[in-house]
Amino acid sequence: MIQLFHLFKNFGPNVALQDINLRIRKGDFVFVTGPSGAGKTTLMRLMFGAEKPTSGNILINGINLNRIRRQKLDLLRRKVGFVFQDFKLLTGRTIFENVALALEVAGERPSYIRKKAHLALRSVGLAKREQSYPLQLSGGEQQRVAIARAIVNDPLVLLADEPTGNLDPELTKDIMLLFRTIHMKGTTVVVATHSRNLLEETAQKQIILNRGRLVGNK
């Protein structure tokens, strides 16, 4: 599903990632872990096509992100859901509208959008709060909205960068449970986290980064 070959990423003189080679299979649930500054976010952004590698190749579902045209990348993003640590919700829109946005940009029919957005919100337990605005929700609920938006298109891959970074342990458990449910439905899930507690509680595959290098793959 995701393949990285000799991936390097520099930001000016700073080396963010060095010679990363890895393969994430379809249906995997993988944690990308390591201390702060290890390159987790950079790796996630590269896999999402938000950054271009300095050298090396990234293949998502067989498509080389280096060779893909801008417009095709936009289309690919509809098949790769991304959950951000800071949620990235539009505060001026209801949570229903936030989730519907991912379908609107794909040019879906209004009736389909209504149905799918409702289902996505129901799957994260927020069906009754569709007309609320993000700032009326707790942090955990906002992250659920972000997850609903990421999965509403039935993505092949779900990437989540520190999705529980701003949440307390109880809410973290809820969110992780949600990811497992999504994974059970067949979606490849990649979660970046530096939380040791989270990793200790799981038996999932881990990709360990340190100072931009891949130091472990277990």
Binding site: R77, L90, L101, A102, V105, A106, G107
Partner: protein, 297 residues
């Protein structure tokens, strides 16, 4: 592009306008003023050009007669004039009538004529030459022929001042182009900046739209509609104001002067349609410029 997305784009564009209404009000007002300046200039130019064109096509000639012209010769002269293609005798002014006209024209200053021993003004014939089959008759051979006729003192026609006027119109037209060009640039600048402001106000939203898979065009189209809308509204309102101003002024002119010497007409449909379309087009181009500079997502 999916056609069913058009209502979505239009809705987004109007939401943008509503959210940034102050910016749009300022932008549209400035555009209206610019278009009004240009429209007023065009209206004046069009009417001046019309008048000059009209005068140029149907020129008039004044034939001054010597005192001793006998009625038989005068009859012959009138016959000769009538035989010129397009010629129409407007008025035959006797010496006495010319004197009376001058007295009336001088008003209080007419006293200067009272001391004269005799009426110095010649009798004259006013002739208007209308175009024949759309062609303007050549005044020079007519003038030459009339001047050689016995008993004709002098022949005058409006060619010289008309030529001077035509020269002035060329300058006027050039000025129009320059003003039009500068105002178009101004309008473009206003639209570009209005759209840029709405783009900045939605920067976060656009970034999120891109993150969830929006294509560039999906994001751009509402802004292009917004620019075009701004241009259309400005064009429409400026034409409405221009027409109201024209109607008001032309009514006042008739009231004050009592008679309309010249027909003051509104710019014809192709002209105001052009103003409207150019305004809308400038809005669209402004949108493109703003997006081109902004879109580095």
């Amino acid at each position: 592009m999916k056609l069913r997305l058009i209502p979505y784009f239009v809705k987004q564009a109007f939401q943008n306008v509503r959210k940034n209404r102050l910016v749009h009000i300022v932008g549209i007002s400035t555009m209206i003023i610019s278009l009004l300046i240009f429209g007023t200039f065009l209206l004046l130019f069009y009417n001046l050009d019309n008048w000059i064109h009209g005068w140029g096509n149907s020129f008039s000639m004044s034939i001054y007669l010597q005192e001793e012209m006998d009625p038989g010769t005068k009859k012959e002269l009138l016959e000769l004039i009538r035989n010129f293609p397009g010629a129409k005798i407007e008025k035959i002014i006797s010496k006495e009538q010319a004197y009376k006209d001058l007295l009336r024209a001088l008003g209080k200053d007419a006293i200067v004529l009272k001391g004269l021993p005799r009426n110095p003004l010649p009798a004259s014939i006013e002739v208007v030459f209308e175009p024949v089959n759309g062609e303007r008759p050549d005044p020079w051979p007519i003038k030459a022929k009339l001047e050689t006729f016995r008993g004709v003192q002098e022949v005058q026609y409006s060619e010289e001042w008309l030529n001077r006027f035509k020269g002035l119109m060329k300058v006027f037209r050039l000025t129009g182009f320059i003003i039009g060009g500068l105002l178009s640039l101004g309008v473009l600048f206003i639209v570009t900046n209005t759209i840029k402001l709405t783009l900045y106000s939605r920067e976060e939203e656009i970034a999120i739209m891109k993150l969830v898979g929006a294509t560039d065009w999906f994001v751009k189209i509402p802004f292009l509609i917004e620019g075009t809308f701004q241009g259309m509204v400005s064009g429409f309102i400026s034409l409405l104001v221009l027409y109201s101003g024209y109607a008001l002024l032309s009514a006042k002119k008739a009231e004050i002067l009592g008679l309309a010497i010249l027909d003051f007409v509104f710019v014809p449909a192709p002209y105001f349609l052009t103003i409207f379309l150019v305004s809308a087009g400038l809005g669209l181009v402004g949108g493109f410029i703003a997006l081109g500079r902004f879109f580095k997502i």
